[in-house]
């Protein structure tokens, strides 16, 4: 089973959560060790700039997801 079968989501909110998932998966590919990632999470979740950087990655991924879903303009 693929972790990314499609970029389509039912709603914008689900699309935003998929953008978060993409951001985390890129980290997982680079650092596969779950325990290391958990330790690092402790660090960056308590640092303002780290959180802003993470938010930027999500924003970049959300651009992709939103475009893939035609911005969820269902009535156009």
């Amino acid at each position: 089973m693929s972790w990314l079968p499609s970029l389509k989501t039912e709603t914008p909110e689900a699309g935003f959560e998929l953008a978060l998932k993409l951001a985390r998966m890129a980290v997982k590919y680079t650092q596969p060790d779950e325990s290391v990632r958990k330790d690092l999470r402790e660090q960056y979740a308590n640092n303002a700039d780290s959180l802003t950087m993470a938010s930027h990655v999500v924003a970049t991924n959300f651009q992709t997801i939103a475009a893939a879903n035609h911005y969820w303009n269902t009535t156009e």
Copy 2:
């Protein structure tokens, strides 16, 4: 109730505020603890580079929101 029912906004200004909301929600997903976020806000709201980084995230999200709203070109 979804926190993001749609990317559509009535006006560019409302779209910009939605871009700010997206930036903050990404942080909230990563750091759900309200009190921690409040402490961190104190830090980055008084640091020039932190504010510039935050502005960059908003700019990235605003690209998405503006595209979703066809740049609010209502008369085209």
Copy 3:
């Protein structure tokens, strides 16, 4: 009166200045205190990397503004 009634501008130069305005407004939403922002301005206006970071935010916003204005291709 909205601070952002439209993304349309008469000229590319006015569009660039609107991109600067968007960058500053995102900061203003996060740090509403005028006197704090003035102090921080002193800092980042004298630091090369801070200025480059600010220029990056403007560049990102200018992408949005330029697209909204069809790149000011008035004769196409």
Copy 4:
């Protein structure tokens, strides 16, 4: 044989892995020494901000790959 014969992939997941590959190849072009890259990998794989930065590069490359594959919208 080219390391990048095409931007097309069968699935979104394969596209994401190609985005990771592009991120690494850019590093390889700049630092061709395999042993140096291995040492550096040790560093950034254990630093939260380094991983976030790497995730941002992947997100940027994934935008390109996703667009090249029409977001894998096979039924449109």
Copy 5:
């Protein structure tokens, strides 16, 4: 006379130079003092990461300029 009468350029190379100009103009708007900018230039022109950051801003502006010029695809 406007410093940015148009985003159109004759050639890709001229477009790249316009992207450089946009990057510098954003700095100039924020730090209008010529002598300060000259001092700062000394710093960042001798720092690898500063130069990479500046190159990123140019890349972002070049995306805008290239799109405005339809990627200079004159024979399409």
Copy 6:
């Protein structure tokens, strides 16, 4: 002879190398001194974050190049 006569390349790989060239040329415009650039290269080629930052610039330029080449979709 222009160093950038066109954004068109025969293959995706050649496009990626052009993206690398754009990243380096932006640095060259800012720091024209070959020997300084060579010294700086020594530094950033041995620093993980510097390499990631450089990879990000390449990714941004590759977006432009790929779009200019219609993602090399020759059979569409």
